[in-house]
């Protein structure tokens, strides 16, 4: 048991460090914490540099512009890259989920057309799955695709998607549509890729409760796509989407922002009970201990995952606990910090509130993090069913034609 790299890993790390030292940005810039694309130019520049050097998708094969590397090398790069003030990465949904799906199901010319520009950050992709009628239940999608009446074989897409990350600056997307409402829900779906600049597409950023706009509503009105844009067979959309979703839990990271160290710092200077600094308050100290232990538990769980990767093994199910723990902690820590501030806690003016209102940001963003990329409840179902092997839920809609499914709001 040790924390050292193998000789091969150490050599790779040295190579990565040298490249980053020569190429990575050294100065901070005003980023976009809510992912609204305000730092897109910086993101694209950095992505192009990484792609030119083969670091954009290390595990991709060389003919796609990767290094044919292994997952541990990607982890090493991510660790080293995180030491620099690099801009946010709006490309990961495309590179991690959409493009691999396209590459798996599209023909060679399509693959050749899209892989390079996505890798270099020239084109951005979004994933159009969630709908107003189906968040956790993605297979309940209502957005429909019907054959164009002109006999061209083209499809016309109409409906609405929601919570689409980055749709407002995306060039392409993959969309799952209802093509047959007369069969049960999983069997009547079909997947397409499409140009987000097509006529009939309207993107409206969602004004989140946190104030930012990282997600969007996307409206489709008779958007025409060619049959050659279909990914997989007609009616096979669910199977195709599983390929995409398999990668989602890896792409949706844990919580960032204020943690136990920031809380401890703030607690040193804020007066607590009886005029003593809040850090002397035992109720807060117990909380600090709990957060520290959770954070360390996740860190060392990642170390266990790294170990499996380093040995060329598939990481075990322990990697599935991250978001449940970190999102809940983010909410609790933010709220406890506000309570520590007492009456002052209602002020979220960055000029006045500690950490430029970072605790307030945590409090207001945590509800979204507890939902995005699988709600707490869905993730617990996944642990119960896939890790512990407990039975799936009884599906009352399994053998019912989609058009006959009961619907509420």
């Amino acid at each position: 048991m040790d924390f050292n790299d193998t000789p091969e890993e150490a050599a790779y790390r040295a190579q990565v460090r040298a490249w980053l030292e020569a190429n990575a940005p050294k100065t901070h810039y005003s980023g976009d914490p809510e992912g609204d694309g305000s730092s897109m130019a910086a993101s694209k520049t950095w992505q192009a540099k990484k792609a030119a050097a083969g670091y954009a998708q290390i595990t991709w094969p060389k003919e796609w512009g990767g290094q044919g590397g292994n997952p541990i090398q990607q982890v090493i790069f991510n660790q080293e890259e995180a030491k620099y003030p690099v801009p946010p990465n709006p490309f990961q949904i495309g590179l991690g989920m959409c493009v691999p799906t396209v590459a798996t199901f599209a023909d060679q010319p399509t693959k050749d057309r899209f892989v390079g520009p996505a890798l270099r950050g020239e084109e951005i992709w979004c994933q159009l799955f969630s709908e107003p009628s189906g968040g956790s239940d993605v297979a309940a999608a209502r957005t429909k695709a019907v054959r164009a009446p002109d006999g061209s074989g083209d499809w016309l897409i109409s409906g609405q998607k929601v919570w689409t990350t980055g749709a407002q600056f995306s060039d392409f997307g993959i969309v799952v549509c209802r093509t047959d409402p007369d069969v049960p829900k999983h069997k009547g779906l079909t997947m397409f890729w499409l140009d987000m600049h097509s006529p009939g597409i309207e993107v409206k950023p969602i004004h989140q409760m946190s104030g930012g706009s990282g997600f969007n509503e996307v409206f489709f009105t008779d958007v025409r796509v060619k049959d050659s844009q279909r990914l997989g067979g007609v009616g096979d959309g669910w199977k195709v989407s599983l390929v995409t979703l398999m990668n989602e839990r890896l792409a949706v990271g844990g919580a960032s922002g204020a943690g136990w160290t920031e809380f401890m710092e703030a607690a040193r200077s804020v007066p607590g009970l009886d005029g003593a600094p809040a850090i002397k308050d035992h109720a807060l100290r117990e909380k600090l201990a709990d957060w520290y232990v959770q954070a360390e538990g996740l860190k060392h769980t990642r170390n266990r995952t790294m170990t499996a990767l380093s040995r060329g093994q598939t990481p075990g199910p322990e990697s599935s606990i991250g978001k449940i723990v970190s999102a809940l902690q983010m909410q609790d820590l933010g709220n406890t910090a506000l309570e520590m501030l007492d009456q002052f806690g209602i002020i979220d003016d960055p000029e006045l509130a500690p950490l430029r209102a970072g605790f307030h940001s945590s409090l207001m963003f945590a509800p979204g993090l507890r939902i995005a990329g699988g709600t707490d409840e869905i993730l617990k179902n996944i642990i119960a069913e896939r890790v512990l092997g407990l039975p799936g839920d009884i599906r009352v809609d399994k053998d019912v034609a989609f058009k006959d499914m009961p619907t509420g709001r």
């Binding site: 600090l288 201990a289 538990g297 060392h300 769980t301 170390n303 617990k380 890790v387 039975p391």
Partner: protein
């Protein structure tokens, strides 16, 4: 990065599990539970000694196997799974560790071979009554090499041959080795929450002692010993917590209610998922503690605290929610659930309660972050 046990250590773990399944079934544990006259499972204690486990981390020159603490961790996990009714923790995690840490050459040569051979049982005596023992509350006193005072509870104090006793000498705390067979020692068995792990009141009246470690360094030494024990106890707790999750899962998969197995209800699935999350957090923290213990890293006090807090929480949660998953049958004496519920409390209290460790942890983090 190699944050895992080696293949050899995993093989030892499998071997330990097979051995304990054969020699420490819950039927065997119940023989201690149900018989007030049986303080521990003597046959299991002997067998464990023959396996060499008592000396796993004791150097070969002192009669041990000289393996290391990672090997001791995997054994501890299996002992926790089995709720083994033997004085392993008292003897190995506390006394042997203290002697290896601070004992003189003579103390090491005298005690370690006897511990490794299973010839003596050790115990640690710090508490004197309700609440946290500190230098200010400490009453037991050593003068002219003789100890007087009362210690309770002392886990395995009723069966121990030698005790590590925290007492004041010249007004300052020290740690002392006491032969419990001396005429100056009286023992009374206490009624305890976990009858598979006995405890006693020890009354000392001019009992001869030998100090271990420096004069006036008793509190610091106890902290160091507790750090080491905390990591090993955390592995016992992880073992117990995993077993509770397995029991809950097995029962939920065979118990029907409203026409289907209760494992198909989300209320139960989410409960078991919560157990899994806590168990993984406990395990990952325990692994880091194992690394710190094995390498004697300066991070040990922080790592041990985190391991103890996380593993205590995991075992407590898993043991109580295992009963809840079982429903009424889980509340019966005949069902094994309460063995784990009792042991989870015993393990969480024996080296100081989690809230004490949380305070220790935060104090250390404060110092570390100020530096």
């Amino acid at each position: 990065m190699n944050f895992d046990f080696s293949d050899d250590q995993k093989a030892l773990k499998s071997e330990a599990r097979r051995f304990l399944e054969a020699n420490a079934s819950t039927e065997r544990v119940r023989k201690v539970l149900d018989d007030d006259a049986r303080p521990y499972d003597e046959a299991l204690w002997k067998a464990v000694g023959q396996q060499g486990w008592l000396g796993a981390a004791i150097p070969e020159e002192f009669g041990g196997l000289g393996l290391g603490h990672l090997e001791l961790c995997v054994i501890a996990e299996e002992l926790g799974r089995a709720v083994a009714p033997i004085p392993f923790a008292s003897t190995v995690y506390f006394v042997a560790e203290a002697v290896m840490l601070a004992g003189s050459d003579e103390q090491k040569s005298y005690l370690l071979p006897k511990i490794a051979a299973g010839e003596i049982i050790g115990c640690i005596a710090t508490s004197e009554g309700p609440g946290v023992t500190t230098a200010a509350t400490l009453k037991a006193t050593v003068s002219d090499g003789k100890l007087s005072g009362v210690k309770l509870p002392v886990t395995d104090g009723d069966i121990g041959n030698v005790a590590l006793v925290l007492a004041k000498e010249n007004g300052k705390p020290g740690l002392f080795l006491v032969d419990l067979d001396d005429a100056g020692v009286t023992r009374e068995v206490l009624k305890t929450l976990d009858p598979t792990r006995d405890a006693a009141r020890l009354i000392f009246k001019d009992a001869p002692v030998r100090r271990i470690g420096g004069a006036g360094e008793g509190m610091e030494l106890v902290e160091q010993v507790f750090d080491r024990a905390a990591v090993l106890l955390a592995f016992e707790q992880c073992g117990g917590a995993d077993r509770c999750l397995e029991m809950a899962k097995a029962y939920a998969l065979e118990r029907y209610a409203f026409g289907r197995v209760i494992a198909s209800y989300q209320a139960i699935k989410h409960k078991l998922a919560d157990m899994y999350v806590k168990n993984e957090l406990g395990r990952s923290n325990a692994y880091y503690g194992a690394w710190a213990l094995n390498t004697n890293a300066p991070e040990l006090p922080v790592a041990a605290s985190a391991a103890r807090i996380a593993a205590s929480e995991a075992f407590w949660f898993a043991s109580k929610e295992n009963i809840q998953t079982h429903g009424g049958i889980g509340f019966t004496w005949e069902m094994d659930c309460h063995l784990f519920y009792r042991r989870s409390r015993q393990l969480s209290l024996v080296a100081g309660a989690p809230r004490v460790w949380k305070e220790r942890l935060v104090s250390q983090l404060e110092r570390r972050n100020a530096a």
